[in-house]
Symmetry: C2
Subunit: 246 residues, 2 copies
């Protein structure tokens, strides 16, 4: 069924070069920030734009299952930081020898440095028990909330706000600290704030933990494992120095 | 630990208005497209940009667990379409009365119309058994792959390409059709192609299935369920007609 005559259309199909530039500049310059936070508060009008960006993520059955719990109370942040410290110590011990030493030298969260933390959660019951598009893939509502995280992250980068996603904590303990009901799922705990600088390349690559993989190796054709077609592979290799790097 | 002196920095902190405009224009005009696909092929240089956008998503422990299986073979598409038809019939029957009639009038996938389909998968073993940041939240690698979906979707919109995420199929049957190994998780099956037009508002809202929620209701402060602060709430309400709508 095509769109009805009463559906309003967008004016632009492919965007002009300057609009694509703004998007790609953001996509390629977004970083996971742990260390460069400044204490300056985030103005409400900037925070509102970033939250609207998140709220315009795609969601299964237009479910919009997300909530945004803004954490700016130092006592709450300190409790969350305690969860992180405990989990990070346990996590470090799972690595061996040099890798453990390397792990222990990484700063992996800016919970106390960032003026604002945001916990994005997923309410799996928001649209009732049967959700369009979720019947065969029940995890689709969680995935929708992740799309909201990514939209928020991109808007934040363009606004000059660093964002770090802290996954090193027990989600059930986080639920206790933030009073999150049993049926609600924490998706992301984010540290948000203005920064001294953004790194040019991902911090885990800078610090020798792990490097970016060649994209051509990750593309298949019609069957999983069947490599990319030769022409596309060549184009990918030519664009490995992508024009939108800054 | 702060960044070392040898780490290169980005030049721009907050982006200029024109760059933010390009990002927000994309974020607010992205749609889930099911009906408006044209048969024109996607040029390799455009596809490469869209894939690079996906490949620059955040990933837990810089794991980059994604693969992109490009499906352009009609026989493979027809098999996938068969899975969709079967699942969609079962899905429709779960709704009752008027809601079922309404469901059956929606076109929910453009598998055969779109010249290109892309299956994004997650390789949970890509970085070995212990992954930095995944120890307390084992689903973080799945979530990273979802961020790649969202980056791809945004880049596609700016390039004039419609994307529709088809979640109405049995993922295990999809694995059979695409030869996906047991250990690999399908995250998203996407229909991709140029379009006649993009709708101004989400199709499920247009068609009366479900409406956008007021953002102010979804924002809490320090504890889940504790509403947004009054000033922020007022700003959110003032920006409900967001300046970056097109």
């Amino acid at each position: 069924m095509s769109a009805t005559l009463t559906d309003a259309h967008q004016h632009d199909l492919a965007f002009a070069e300057e609009d694509r530039h703004g998007l790609y500049k953001t996509l390629f310059n977004r970083r996971d920030v742990r260390s460069q936070f400044k204490p300056d508060p985030v103005p409400d009008e900037v925070l509102a734009r970033v939250l609207y960006a998140a709220h315009h993520a795609p969601s299964v059955g237009f479910m919009q299952p997300w909530n945004f719990t803004l954490v700016n109370d130092d006592a709450v942040k300190r409790q969350v930081y305690g969860l992180y410290q405990q989990a990070n110590e346990a996590a470090a011990n799972e690595f061996e020898d040099e890798r453990q030493q390397q792990y222990r030298q990484l700063k992996l969260a800016g919970i106390l440095d960032a003026p604002l933390n945001i916990c994005i959660t997923c309410d799996r019951e928001r649209a009732g028990p049967i959700v369009l598009g979720r019947q065969q893939m029940p995890e689709m509502d969680l995935f929708s909330s992740v799309c909201a995280v990514q939209n928020l992250w991109l808007a934040a980068r363009a606004e000059g706000l660093g964002v770090g996603w802290v996954s090193i904590m027990d989600p059930n303990e986080l639920k206790q600290v933030l009073g999150i009901p049993a049926a609600i799922v924490p998706i992301a705990y984010l540290c948000v704030g203005y920064v001294d600088h953004f790194l040019a390349t991902p911090e885990l690559a800078n610090k020798g933990w792990r490097q970016r993989l060649p994209l051509g190796d990750l593309v298949y054709t019609n069957q999983w494992g069947a490599g990319a077609e030769a022409d596309l592979l060549q184009t990918l290799e030519q664009q490995a120095e992508f024009p939108y790097q800054f």
